[in-house]
């Protein structure tokens, strides 16, 4: 692919890409150089022009020095997944220069620091070069090395905004917002932006990618999934958070701290209506959550794959002893330390079947930050209702990137569902209590909280087998009856978890596709593109495990069903075939697991290839 050997050509050999409100800009930076906030400002300025953007931080497991990228998808049509390809590369990292330049689409643009001459041999002849002497400008303007670095970022944002036609007022307003409270920083940043714009004036006509005012953002908000999940925990009534730092989940706990500080102080005293403990490890984190849940507080932890591994024993206890717990699993590339700063959906099986023995757990799959909030709050009701662990399965892409999504909404009349807790009055009134009796025939027993009544309702919680009145028992029949009840409870869960979302093709089709979580925006785009090519396929987005019957009905109604997921082993497909007794032969794997978020182009390519294969085998079968 690399075309570095070709002679430098001042004019692109093919027509430069031209597009309004529909292109991809990628920034190549060095980690720790302060680029992230400048790049974020760039993305937000386009948003303020009323044009939807999707920005993704692609970063290394490193604090300073390694390459990092920031990809901004600009799309008036509203496609917010990764498209694939780069139209304008902002190449600020010499280490990755060659690869970055090679990744530009034919006809695309390369924005670079022209202080030094281009590498010997020039660059590709099919792209447009946009050189601004950033280092020279900074060296002439600033004496402090740190300032030179930070303002270089702001200067290129100013230059890019001029090249793309973003209103100067928009950028200026964002600077004022970003540095509110640190007012002395506002003016220098405004000056840097202006400097960038000024130095780009001569290049404006060379760029045919433009941002124009549109009205396509509406009332949508722009937020990271981790922050949204923390807000969900706040509205879900969580009072205890125990956690251990791990990328990419750390910001869930950090956001929860901030939201609690703002919204959970007792008005009269300023004291905390919450307790947040940074535990010594993930085992202690989930132990604290289980202890708090046992004692009637809504509690959660947030973690990622390695933490899920460590929590297995406690999750099994929560299942068997029937204790509410919520885990936000922000998935990353595994196994082992894997790719800690890259995204995957690869904890599906380890979460669904966590722990030794026969276990199954409820999983929720949010598609974006709005659902992180909604499912985050819902998880606590489900945990109390089902008296078990509920996982909210985010991933790094949703969790750590800002997404444009529906605004959060809350109904003030909504009450927390505390589930089946037998209180003092019922006990006092003589209501019979046995901790594991299936009184309502839904598999869910009643529980009491410690301290509830002087003489009634106490029971002994244990991970060992016991009878319906919580008395130790190793009788086989007693054990089996309890395990069967837990299965019945899992059946009950099917009716309580969010149902799938389906999209029916314009024409009846033998093809279906199942997907979940952060794949959604790329899938939506792929479905539109396929439809434009008259390729018809029905789609179903799974939102929870256990799977509702609708999932299996969907599979039964199609000859071939693609299962799109972001892991190597087709974990959702395994779960579907195992739980539904589905013939795996009709479920075609579509797997993206290189650590970067799945793209629409990839999905389209795989589905087309899969359909061609299915048609071939159909022909072969017919010929036999």
């Amino acid at each position: 692919m690399q075309q570095l050997a070709k002679p430098f050509a001042p004019e692109a050999a093919i027509a430069p890409l031209a597009a309004i409100n529909d292109f991809v800009v990628k920034f190549a930076n060095v980690n720790g150089s302060g680029s992230a906030s400048a790049n974020g400002m760039f993305a937000k300025s386009i948003l303020r022009m009323g044009v939807p953007v999707a920005a993704r931080n692609i970063f290394p497991s490193n604090i300073q020095g390694l390459p990092t990228w920031y990809e901004v998808r600009v799309c008036e049509a509203g496609h917010l997944g990764r498209r694939g390809g780069v139209d304008l590369m902002v190449a600020m990292n010499p280490q990755t220069w060659a690869k970055d330049v090679a990744s530009i689409e034919p006809g695309g643009y390369l924005f670079y620091d022209s202080t030094k001459p281009l590498p010997h041999g020039g660059v590709r002849d099919d792209i447009t070069l946009l050189g601004v002497p950033l280092t020279a400008i900074c060296n002439a303007t600033y004496s402090d090395p740190r300032q030179r670095q930070l303002f270089k970022n702001i200067i290129y944002v100013g230059a890019l905004s001029a090249l793309l036609g973003i209103d100067p007022e928009v950028g200026d307003a964002l600077v004022a917002e970003q540095f509110k409270g640190k007012d002395r920083l506002i003016l220098p940043n405004l000056e840097a932006l202006a400097m960038g714009r000024e130095h780009a004036q001569d290049l404006i006509d060379k760029v045919a990618l433009k941002v124009r005012h549109a009205d396509k953002v509406g009332d949508r908000i722009y937020i990271e999934g981790n922050s949204a999940a923390a807000l969900g925990a706040l509205y879900g009534g969580a009072t205890v958070c125990a956690w251990y730092p791990i990328t990419p989940s750390t910001s869930v706990a950090e956001a929860f701290m901030e939201y609690c500080a703002d919204h959970r102080a007792e008005p009269s005293t300023g004291r905390a209506r919450y307790a947040i403990v940074q535990a010594e490890d993930e085992i202690a984190s989930i132990g604290i959550v289980v202890g708090a849940g046992w004692n009637g507080a809504r509690a959660f932890t947030c973690t990622s794959g390695p933490g899920i591994s460590l929590m297995q024993e406690f999750v099994g206890l929560s299942y068997f002893a029937e204790i509410p717990a919520v885990i936000f699993d922000v998935q990353r590339g595994g196994p082992s330390t894997g790719m800690p700063t890259r995204t995957q959906q690869s904890d599906i099986l380890s979460a669904a079947y966590a722990s030794h023995g026969d276990t199954k757990h409820v999983l929720l799959f949010p598609e974006d930050p709005t659902e992180c909030f909604e499912m985050g709050a819902m998880a606590f009701d489900l945990a109390d209702r089902l008296q078990t662990t509920i996982y909210v399965m985010l991933d790094l892409d949703i969790g750590m990137n800002e997404w444009l999504c529906r605004p959060f909404a809350w109904d003030d009349s909504r009450r927390l569902d505390r589930g089946k807790v037998m209180g003092h009055d019922a006990l006092e009134g003589g209501t019979p209590f046995g901790r594991y009796r299936d009184v309502d025939r839904d598999g869910i027993p009643y529980r009491t909280l410690p301290g509830v009544h002087p003489e009634r309702g106490a029971y002994f919680t244990r991970g060992t087998s016991r009878d319906p009145d919580a008395r130790y028992s190793e009788e086989g029949s007693v054990y089996v009856a309890n395990m069967e009840r837990l299965l019945a409870k899992f059946e009950t869960a099917k009716a309580l978890v969010p149902e799938p979302v389906t999209r029916t093709a314009k024409r009846s089709t033998p093809y279906g596709v199942i997907y979940f979580g952060s794949t959604t925006p790329a899938m939506n785009e792929a479905l539109h593109a396929l439809e434009d090519e008259a390729i018809h396929i029905d789609a179903l987005r799974v939102r929870a495990f256990p799977f509702n019957d609708e999932v299996f009905a969907f599979i039964a109604a199609h000859e071939t069903v693609f299962i799109v997921e972001q892991n190597r082993d087709a974990q959702l497909r395994t779960l579907i075939t195992t739980e539904g007794g589905v013939d795996p032969g009709k479920l075609v794997k579509v797997l993206n697991y290189d650590g970067s978020p799945i793209t629409a182009r990839f999905i389209i390519g795989e589905i087309k290839a899969g359909m061609a294969n299915a048609a071939d085998s159909g022909v072969r079968e017919a010929a036999q």
Binding site: D219, I221, Y222, L231, L234, Y235, G237, T239, V240, A242, H263, R264, E266, G270, R271, A272, R273, Y274, A275, I276, V277, A279, E280, I283, A284, G287, I288, V289, V290, G291, A292, G293, W294, N295, G296, A297, F314, P407, F408, W410, D411, R414, R415, L416, T448, L449, P450, G451, H453, P454, E455, A458, Y459, F460, T461, G463, T464, Y472, S473, E475
Partner: protein, 351 residues
């Protein structure tokens, strides 16, 4: 036989305590431990302590990990909620329970395997956080349920029942607890109930992380010659620093001691710890002196027992976290959920 309910036979002479409960009301199921097990004596001491303190049984939560010791909460305080959790993880479960409801008394029961081996980390961190609890390690220096392996508190040079000599150095939990900032540290012996009951009482009344190491010989696997956790060895090497009496608010303090030989320590809840000092120079409120004394006795192969350290002004995790007085599990929806209007404001900052 899976469990045995204790017959509800009341001895007419059983004297009720201040709440009208008899000792029987503080008992649990019949123990399934071996006859003569030191752990059963500790259960009896816990029962006695709670009875003496007029503790409403339902206001105490008993937590444990896994092992012989961790089975015992089923054998006392049958009217209390109990939680027999995961091996080595009682401290985290207790911490969570405590965060959820600060109004209950938390009694954690663990063993030397549970706390010094698999659970050493959780032991350490729950103590350094100052969780308000009574943490009892029933220390027999051996794995009983798996039949006789050395534990991390087995002394170097001690001999197993099979004749193997332990070469690993022991973990001294009392020294660790002192170093980690426990605000109440004691050691007792299951064979000395007169010393143990007041220690447990004082610990239950203490606000903060109270740790008691109780030497509790395993009659099956660690009570032979060559063991340093046998009844005979502990009796011969016991060096008590004090004799403790717990005097509650309601009790009259009777002064019947020679000046200088007794120290009175008043805890947060108003309870007074009356210490008959055996070495006259011993000050149990001096952490550094306690550590030094402990090391000195260790060097002499003596087991220091009694109330080794107490900080009467201790503060607990809830204090550090500035949590509200209302237990977190009793907060109402309106205390917990911000209004929809607050969410609208949050939305506005995200555009």
């Amino acid at each position: 036989m899976t469990f045995i309910a204790k017959p509800r036979l009341h001895h007419p002479m059983l004297k009720p305590n201040g709440l009208g409960f008899t000792r029987r009301d503080y008992e649990g199921k019949v123990s399934t431990l071996c006859a003569g097990c030191g752990h059963d004596s500790i259960s009896a001491a816990i029962i006695q302590a709670c009875y003496d303190l007029d503790l409403p049984p339902h206001r105490l939560a008993k937590m444990s990990g896994i092992g012989c010791s961790s089975k015992t909460p089923d054998y006392f305080l049958g009217a209390s909620h109990g939680f027999n959790s995961v091996h080595g993880r009682m401290p985290s479960v207790l911490t969570g329970a405590n965060l959820a409801n600060r109004d209950l008394i938390y009694l954690g029961v663990s063993g030397d395997g549970d706390s010094a081996s698999i659970g050493l980390g959780q032991f350490a961190h729950s103590i350094r956080r100052g969780v308000n609890m009574t943490y009892i390690v029933e220390n027999n220096g051996v794995y009983g349920l798996t039949k006789g392996q050395f534990s991390a508190t087995s002394d170097a040079g001690s001999k197993s029942k099979k004749g193997v000599i332990n070469s690993d150095q022991p973990i001294e939990l009392v020294a660790l607890a002192l170093q980690l900032g426990a605000t109440f540290v004691g050691r007792g012996f299951s064979g000395d109930k007169a010393q143990l009951v007041p220690l447990i009482k004082a610990a239950l009344l203490h606000r903060g992380a109270a740790f008691i190491d109780v030497l509790s010989p395993c009659v099956q696997f660690n009570n032979h010659a060559g063991s340093t956790k046998s009844f005979d060895y502990v009796r011969e090497h016991n060096a008590a620093v004090n004799r403790l009496d717990v005097i509650l608010d309601r009790d009259e303090i009777v002064v019947d001691y020679a000046p200088g030989s007794v120290e009175l320590v008043t805890q947060h809840d108003g309870s007074v710890l009356r210490l008959s000092k055996l070495p006259h120079d011993y000050d149990p409120t001096d952490r550094m002196a306690a550590s030094q004394r402990l090391q000195m006795h260790l060097a002499r192969d003596e087991i220091l027992t009694g109330l080794i350290y107490v900080d009467p002004e201790a503060e607990d995790l809830h204090h550090h976290l500035h949590t509200v007085d209302t237990p977190l599990n009793a907060l109402r929806d309106e205390d917990l959920i911000p209004a929809a209007a607050a969410l609208e404001k949050i939305n506005a900052t995200l555009r």
